[in-house]
């Protein structure tokens, strides 16, 4: 959706002042542009829990902060709401916690800079940084593999850091996929620890649509609506307040409000060669290209149609994925066995049988190395594991084991 900066002197359609920009077929000044963008965010929040004297009490909100322009803009818009409430009522209706999952050097200093920026405006930001390794807490490591019949094979694994675990994942797209799983679960856990009732993600409409396509392509179509619609997981609301805003609008907002300097500089160069790109990078490039080629409404269309999707009722949920914790509706093992045939044509002579024996000596089947388990893994995770014999993954300990660990203080008494 095109946003055009005006050079000619035209009055703003809303207030009559000098307009600065044409956006969504409206000629507006910067102030009205800001108001309209903030209005869209507030509409997306869609709850009275942010209001002062709400019947729900003071609600705690966690903002998933990545340091990119989207996070900065989302934070700024929420801080404007906080400032308005402080100026008008002397207090706020909700508490904000900015949470960053530390994956880059220097993010701590950047967060300090953000904090002092808003301190100057008269408000204080609470922030917290957590390490990716926190994902390992309370979990036991397992080596997980898949055999030819799509059985899930598992074996206990010795200690690894999250960095080692990610390095063992076979390709860029799978790393991107599993990292998303890790971050989502860390955010959920941190929200629980901090007593937050809501998690806010900073995804714009462009990011959401490319993420929708990427999930569709990764075989995660059954849970796509949860990525867009406001949803609830373990009693915590998950929202995307920037879902009505385009990237171009977010960039312009950051420029107008001079908050670009708070952004964490990302110097990573994205390749243009397909083989060096991830699925999300390819879908994002496609959407940008198609928008430029006359199919301008594709990005909002993708988001709107996904909003209309619901949980599939034609399948009965069979449980949650041991890796990503998403609900599994259609058993991927049964489905994959239905569409692939893995029996060989018969060997006809002694030479062929000799070769087969040599092959099995050189490459013993994975079933000999790991044990068949009753784990359920969703289709998306199974496909992301494709290309490697097995991956190492932290899984929740058995409930009984957790109880024992929590309540036994001296194991000597067992004997």
């Amino acid at each position: 959706m095109s946003l055009q900066i005006l050079t000619a002197k035209i009055p703003c359609q809303k207030c009559g002042e000098d307009a600065s920009v044409t956006n969504r077929k409206e000629v507006v000044c910067n102030e009205c542009f800001n108001m309209s963008m903030r209005g869209r965010l507030r509409k997306s929040l869609r709850a009275d829990i942010y209001k002062i004297n709400s019947k729900h009490g003071v609600h705690k909100v966690l903002l998933a902060f990545k340091g990119d322009v989207n996070s900065i803009v989302c934070l700024d818009m929420i801080m404007q709401l906080v400032l308005e409430q402080i100026n008008n009522h002397g207090k706020t209706g909700f508490q904000l916690l900015v949470l960053n999952i530390d994956e880059r050097n220097g993010i701590e200093e950047k967060l300090q800079q953000v904090r002092s920026f808003y301190e100057q405006k008269g408000t204080i930001i609470n922030y917290k940084t957590v390490q990716v390794n926190s994902y390992l807490t309370g979990k036991s490591l397992k080596r997980i593999g898949i055999d030819k019949k799509f059985n899930i094979l598992v074996k206990d694994e010795s200690s690894h850091s999250m960095e080692d675990i990610i390095n063992l994942i076979p390709n860029k797209s799978a790393v991107e996929d599993f990292k998303e799983v890790i971050y989502d679960q860390i955010l959920l856990k941190q929200a629980e620890i901090e007593g937050c009732g809501t998690i806010l993600y900073c995804n714009s409409m462009n990011k959401l649509s490319s993420s929708i396509l990427a999930n569709l392509i990764k075989g995660r179509g059954s849970n796509m609506n949860f990525k867009v619609n406001d949803t609830e997981k373990q009693g915590i609301y998950i929202k995307n307040p920037l879902r009505e805003l385009f990237d171009s609008e977010i960039d312009y907002y950051s420029e107008v409000n001079e908050i670009g300097q708070l952004k964490f500089q990302n110097n990573a160069v994205i390749s243009n060669i397909n083989r060096n790109m991830t699925i999300k990078q390819i879908t994002s490039r496609y959407l940008n290209q198609i928008e430029a080629n006359g199919y301008a409404s594709t990005i909002p269309t993708v988001v709107k149609i996904t909003e209309k999707l619901v949980e599939p009722t034609k399948f009965k949920p069979i449980g949650n994925c041991k890796i990503c914790d998403e609900v599994i509706y259609q058993n991927p093992k049964t489905w994959l066995n239905k569409i692939t045939h893995n029996e060989s044509a018969p060997l006809v002579d002694e030479i062929e049988r000799d070769y087969a024996e040599q092959y099995l000596q050189a490459f013993p089947p994975i079933e000999d190395q790991l044990d068949v388990s009753n784990y359920t893994i969703c289709y998306g995770c199974m496909v992301s594991m494709n290309g490697t014999e097995s991956i190492v993954w932290p899984t929740e300990r058995q409930r009984d084991q957790k109880v024992l660990e929590e309540f036994i203080i001296d194991s000597d008494d067992d004997e």
């Binding site: 390709n171 860029k172 797209s173 929708i212 396509l213 999930n215 569709l216 392509i217 990764k218 075989g219 995660r220 179509g221 059954s222 397909n274 083989r275 790109m277 991830t278 699925i279 390819i282 496609y286 198609i290 080629n293 199919y295 594709t298 269309t301 993708v302 149609i305 996904t306 209309k308 999707l309 949980e311 599939p312 009722t313 399948f315 509706y329 259609q330 489905w335 569409i339 692939t340 045939h341 893995n342 029996e343 060989s344 044509a345 060997l347 002579d349 030479i351 062929e352 049988r353 000799d354 070769y355 087969a356 040599q358 092959y359 099995l360 050189a362 490459f363 289709y379 496909v383 494709n386």
Partner: protein, 375 residues
């Protein structure tokens, strides 16, 4: 290869087929990148199609089935595999080839020649139905009138009806088409990109039956990769016509195809992943407001024709099949989609034509002429 030749030619274990481990692998299977020998590839390819057919219960014994035949790789492999499976698993089917001549000079005339050869090779009866005789339009004329960008929309609607009419002419009510997994994945992706809520949850159905058509259509290649179809045709030395339709790359489907190609280079399974995703689509049911519900009967539907007129014919009684006011063919609306599209074209059709006007011969003919030029 004789046993002596095999003994002389020593293979490394890394060269062996990953399924039987006893023969030399000759190809990498596009579906899962497994290295396979020819024998194992033929077996898995044919068995997977058989499994798809039996799992979806596509036929009953003794059924007469029309195979949509264009002369391209998909329909040629469809005819070959269906003949093989029909004999191997005793389906008891009577197979008939059904071709549509869309009227694309330099493309369809050549491919129809291939269909005629296939008819002799597979010993199946053949019926050809043309757009010209059904609609008085050829695809070349349609493209000359409406441009290339919408060509697939027109061709798709007209071909669907033409296949039905061809099948009805032969007294057959089941048509098999060569739509493969790639086509299915493209459709899933396209329906999301276009926000097509009417078709989204039906993107992956293997058997389609609609109010618009008395003929059911099935896709036994739903889980078969296009690249595997090409490999099968290559190793089986099948006779097929391998040129893509001249009008296809300009369409929206063309851009989706490009996206899929880019994705396949980093994730070969993306075709199946899309189908798996598509099988889970379910749309929120529309909420009908009470006011609309109560007023529904008082406000009868009034369809506006492409020329702006309205039809005054009465609506059929409940249970009675609705027919197109214009052509009399089954339709869920007063005017069938084919007549609706053609009505729009008719309004733009040139009233006067020049003698020997070669412009309407289309891009395919022009390309072919250029190919034969020598300097």
């Amino acid at each position: 290869m004789t046993v002596e030749q095999k003994k002389d030619k020593k293979l490394k274990v890394t060269q062996l087929c990953e399924l039987c481990h006893g023969r030399k692998a000759v190809m990498k299977r596009p579906k899962n990148l497994q290295k396979l020998c020819k024998e194992c590839f033929f077996l898995v390819f044919e068995t997977e199609i058989h499994n798809t057919i039996t799992d979806a219960k596509l036929f009953y014994k003794g059924e007469t089935v029309a195979l949509g035949a264009s002369g391209g790789k998909d329909s040629t492999v469809l005819a070959s595999v269906m003949k093989t499976l029909n004999e191997r698993y005793d389906y008891g089917l009577h197979l008939v080839l059904l071709s549509i001549d869309e009227g694309i000079k330099g493309y369809r005339d050549d491919s129809l020649a291939t269909v005629k050869r296939n008819q002799a090779q597979y010993e199946m009866p053949l019926e050809i139905v043309s757009y010209k005789e059904l609609y008085d339009w050829t695809m070349d004329e349609i493209v000359a009138c409406s441009g290339m960008r919408n060509s697939c929309t027109y061709c798709g609607v007209l071909r669907r009806q033409a296949l039905d009419r061809g099948a009805a002419k032969l007294g057959i009510n089941h048509v098999l088409t060569g739509h493969n997994a790639d086509d299915m994945a493209e459709t899933v992706l396209m329906n999301v990109l276009r926000g097509d809520s009417k078709r989204l949850d039906k993107s992956c159905t293997i058997k389609t039956e609609s109010a618009d058509s008395p003929i059911k259509r099935s896709k036994p290649f739903k889980y078969t990769y296009q690249k595997e179809i090409v490999l099968y045709a290559h190793y089986k030395k099948l006779d097929y016509f391998s040129t893509e339709c001249t009008y296809a790359p300009e369409s929206f489907r063309g851009t989706t195809r490009e996206l899929l190609k880019a994705l396949e280079s980093i994730r070969p399974s993306c075709i199946m992943d899309l189908i798996y995703s598509g099988e889970h689509f379910e749309l929120r049911k529309k909420q009908v407001t009470t006011t609309y519900k109560n007023n529904k009967k008082k406000l009868p539907e009034q369809e506006v024709n492409p020329d702006g007129s309205v039809s005054l014919k009465k609506t059929p009684a409940p249970g009675e099949a609705r027919k197109c006011d214009k052509c009399g063919y089954l339709s869920s609306n007063k005017i069938c989609k084919a007549c609706f599209l053609l009505g729009g074209l008719e309004a733009n059709r040139a009233k006067v034509t020049l003698d020997n006007n070669t412009y309407i011969d289309g891009a395919a003919k022009l390309t072919k002429t250029l190919e034969h030029l020598s300097f």
